[in-house]
């Protein structure tokens, strides 16, 4: 994995988890591929596509039951968030990571258009739809796990 892409992806992800959901994320061991997780443990997978100087997307997968807490923290709820709110929260988290990683890798002069968050059934389906993974980072969060990938393809 190119360090030049992984480092900004880590920074943007940690900033997003902390400021959006008060999650304190720690980089986790690279001991299991995101597509090797038991599907029953996966909370949700979403991607946000971008195009500009570079084209590709950000894929975010949460597993281990942390998506309800992400949504509840974002909403400031003591009780659980609805399924719709959880998917909305997951999409917004991916959107914020995407918006924050792009200036870190392409500079603040570059202009990008971001797509709306797209929900996928699996990590593999999301990556297959977007293109090759340029960087992947994994975080341990409150007993669960978050995987974030930066996918890039040749600019049309």
């Amino acid at each position: 994995m190119p360090e030049t892409l992984a480092a900004p992806l880590v920074e943007a992800s940690i900033q997003t988890f902390e400021q959006l959901a008060y999650f304190f994320a720690e980089s986790g061991p690279d001991d299991a591929a995101p597509d090797a997780i038991d599907p029953l443990q996966v909370d949700g997978v979403v991607s946000v596509a971008f195009c500009g100087l570079l084209c590709g997307g950000v894929v975010l997968q949460l597993a281990g039951g942390i998506l309800p807490a992400l949504a509840a923290n974002m909403l400031g709820l003591d009780d659980g968030a609805s399924a719709g709110e959880q998917q909305d929260a997951l999409g917004e988290a991916a959107n914020v990571i995407c918006g924050n990683v792009l200036p870190r890798i392409a500079g603040t002069a570059a202009v990008f258009t971001l797509g709306v968050p797209q929900r996928f059934e699996s990590w593999t389906a999301a990556v297959d739809a977007l293109g090759p993974v340029a960087a992947h980072v994994r975080f341990d969060i409150e007993g669960g796990r978050a995987d974030v990938a930066l996918v890039m393809r040749p600019t049309p």
């Binding site: 959006l20 949504a71 909305d88 914020v96 200036p103 603040t108 002069a109 570059a110 202009v111 709306v116």
Partner: protein, 127 residues
């Protein structure tokens, strides 16, 4: 100072989060209205007196930039202060927004950042 605020974002979670952040910031809010896109926002602006609109950019039906153009073109809405709240990281695009008289808050945001930007836009010194 008591503020009527319109929050425009296609994500209901982000609208709720922004409203909670506004309340946490200690700003004096009177009424808070919501809209899921630019067209809904124009409807709310027609129905209610609004001092400040917080606007996302990427939205369906009518995006934030289109909404800003419509508001700026309507003399009846000249008193509405506009702040874009977005993940946008391009200084080029942010500069173009500021040239249209719009301020900018970057996602993710803190109550302190929101408070400082709102007070600056309204020309009010922080207590």
């Amino acid at each position: 100072m008591a503020l009527n605020v319109l929050v425009v974002d296609d994500s209901a979670v982000m609208r709720s989060m922004l409203i909670r952040t506004l309340r946490l910031s200690g700003l004096p809010l009177t009424n808070v209205y919501q809209a899921g896109d630019g067209a809904e926002a124009l409807s709310r602006l027609a129905d209610h007196d609004v001092d400040l609109a917080l606007i996302d950019i990427n939205m369906p039906v009518m995006n934030g930039e289109q909404l800003i153009d419509q508001v700026r073109a309507d003399g009846r809405l000249a008193g509405v202060a506009l702040i874009v709240v977005s993940t946008e990281g391009s200084e080029t695009r942010i500069g173009a927004l500021k040239a249209r008289g719009v301020s900018f808050i970057h996602k993710p945001f803190t109550p302190e950042q929101v408070r400082a930007t709102v007070l600056r836009v309204l020309g009010v010194a922080d207590a």
